[in-house]
Subunit: 421 residues, 2 copies
């Protein structure tokens, strides 16, 4: 493993060299490396906990809040979950070498479009040590070398985790430099990492908007932004009320702080008031602050519903807070979502096939649900094993970023002396 004893450019160059054998090796060897990572995690639990305890001690002395410390903290269960996660990824089909498309041209040339690794993937993340292992395992499974840049607050935790992963890679005969770790306390290393054109093939930030904006400003290598999500559930006129209530509550409450939780509820004007009362009361009783338009507030006057401003339609609360708007048609719901949504996950609850189809075709988002919660947008839920984030961009990867999305492809063309006339 190359670390910041070397420069960022040297770490990236070492990873690039290591990426070539890694890209062409069989699944057995990559999976053996991943199993070795899982075993090393299990064998080094005391050492990992000790390193993490030191990180936590320093962090407690620093200016960090309890949410930060909770993310940074490892325990035996979290460490066991890391090892399980690696084995789940190892068990996935190898994305490298998959034939995506194939055809014979009229002139007899045989063309195969084959999935291949990207090369070197850099992952920049905040003080969650488990991301060190998650990201490394996903990249290795896809056949990519990886350069990790974690938070300095997690430096000891990251060092032991990245170190054991690099040793496991070396243990199966692959270059140890396939896994590099950049540390440092400033943003200079991020800027340096994001400008290694020709060495780094993709950089994935996993963190807040500040991290993304600072990358956007400097990056010359391609960036895949894990997304924020301003998501909606729309309850159509003709819909199952129990399903609607369950979906709304699940999408808002099951984990309010994540990108696929909803921020606005849209309700057709013909949805009966008793149902709207029931659903909004349940949300209120669960501690949700409500912001409503005039009709929503008028429908349930006994609840304390703030007047929603235009800004509410554009806000990702990531908290127990929800905007509510009454619309007159599925078309109005679609227009609202396309105007205010972030293109992440959008749901309609309906029994009307025409409304379901209009919504699926008309809504411009990564994942469009009919009669299901937006909370399913997740690499694990989608059977991708794990994800490195969710993309709301339209190029390359949209939705969960799993091992296939960490690949590119190439065309392999075979002839017998073909020349172009």
């Amino acid at each position: 493993m190359a670390t910041t004893a070397a420069s960022v450019a040297e770490i990236c160059a070492a990873a690039k060299r290591a990426s070539q054998p890694l890209a062409t090796v069989g699944s057995e060897i990559k999976d053996a490396a991943l199993e070795a990572v899982a075993q090393a995690i299990e064998e080094l639990v005391p050492e990992i906990l000790d390193a993490n305890a030191q990180d936590l001690e320093d962090a407690r002395a620093g200016d960090y809040n309890s949410a930060f410390l909770e993310k940074l903290r490892l325990d035996e269960a979290r460490i066991a979950a890391m090892a399980d996660g690696v084995r789940t990824i190892a068990a996935l089909p190898d994305p490298a070498g998959e034939v995506i498309d194939g055809f014979r041209l009229p002139n007899g040339l045989d063309v195969r479009k084959v999935r291949v690794p990207l090369g070197v993937v850099a992952v920049v993340y905040e003080a969650r040590p488990n991301v060190t292992i998650d990201a490394a395992a996903l990249c290795l499974k896809a056949g990519n070398a990886i350069v990790l840049r974690g938070s300095s607050a997690a430096s000891r935790s990251n060092a032991i985790l990245a170190g054991l992963a690099a040793s496991a890679v070396a243990g199966v005969g692959l270059p140890e430099d396939a896994l590099g770790l950049v540390s440092g306390s400033g943003r200079e290393e991020i800027a340096e990492l994001a400008t290694q054109t020709g060495l780094v093939d993709l950089i994935v930030p996993r963190g807040g908007e500040g991290l993304k904006e600072s990358l956007k400003a400097v990056a010359t290598v391609p960036v895949l932004y894990a997304a924020s999500g301003n998501c909606h559930v729309y309850i159509d006129r003709w819909s199952d009320q129990d399903a609607a209530e369950a979906i709304v509550l699940n999408a808002k409450l099951q984990r309010p702080g994540v990108c696929n939780a909803i921020e606005t509820l849209l309700v057709h004007a013909d949805v009966p008031t008793p149902f709207l009362r029931r659903a909004l009361t349940a949300l209120h009783d669960a501690g949700v602050t409500l912001h409503g338009d005039e009709r929503a507030r008028a429908a349930v006057p006994e609840l304390p519903i703030d007047v929603a401003s235009e800004a509410d339609w554009d806000t990702e609360y990531l908290a127990l807070e929800l905007a509510v708007r009454v619309v007159d048609s599925v078309e109005e719901a679609i227009a609202h979502i396309n105007a205010h949504g972030s293109g992440h996950s959008e749901a309609i609850v309906t029994r009307d096939t025409a409304a379901a189809r209009a919504f699926q075709i008309g809504v411009d988002a990564a994942c469009v649900y009919v009669n299901a919660s937006t909370r399913f947008t997740d690499g694990g839920e989608f059977g991708m094993g794990a994800e490195i984030g969710n993309s709301t961009q339209k190029l390359h990867a949209r939705g969960p970023i799993g091992i296939r999305e960490l690949c590119t492809f190439k065309y392999l063309v075979e002839g017998d002396g073909h020349v172009r006339p």
Copy 2:
């Protein structure tokens, strides 16, 4: 059609509004619009020639060379080819709505990954009026609205072509603003176009390196760069000599100025000298200036072969010029290509299955050929109907950029009240 009577932002906003009905319309309507474009081109030949003659007259008075004037010039054959090209694109299968993947999750949710248009595609190009029609037809077929920014030297030609295309779109009931034309003589419009985040989903430059660099410096919307190509043919030890000669001559001579023509010939040291003499003599006789390493020059001392410098391995001549290097193994050929190539199109000529496989797996390029000329890297040749360029980047599109590459996808998920546990 919105034109620069309006601002660039207004044109893009109009295109964004128009993109929604366009994205959801059936193939029949898009194909009818394309047929109407082809017919309008055929009906307006005199008017198109007249507009082009005026552009040419101004250009002749300006400081332009003959190659520039030749690109700008339209004639009846070129206009007929434009109409034919539109009909070829119309006849392709509709990429929008194609199901790329689909599966049922363990919880019963049904997931389809469906190809959908990107939204608004901007194309920035130089003084080739035919690109106006090519780009518009590809984007419309994919269901995208398009904003064109051509060269001011072709302003009259572009205006009539874009105008007839917009009228054809309006004629089938789609919004005329689905096709916008930005003109102007400076780079300010390009910079403005490249920063319309939220309105423009993709910008594709078709032009020289200067255009690409100026875009790279300012673009905040995603850019798909049509590629330059430093391509190679490697002649392996055990190879068919007639096929090898034919492929080398075709790859260098058939059209030397394009990105998939070769710039370096690699030859295994065991390839017999008489063959190397024959191939290099044929190239020399065809007017090719040769730059060779020591062994290549020693093998054919009677030919005037310059001493190749390190710079030659990295040069895209785009002309009757070729570097020649002798290597000792397929591995050395692969290493040379990965070090110096641009990841475009690479070919091996061999009868050795092991060498062919090593080359296909080891070479990191968009298209890797066995026993065929690199000149086949082309959307038309690959059965994509046409292309807007070739990509050497690894994200989203690699190789020919056709109508599928002008699309994104979304996940459509259907349940019956599913909530996440």
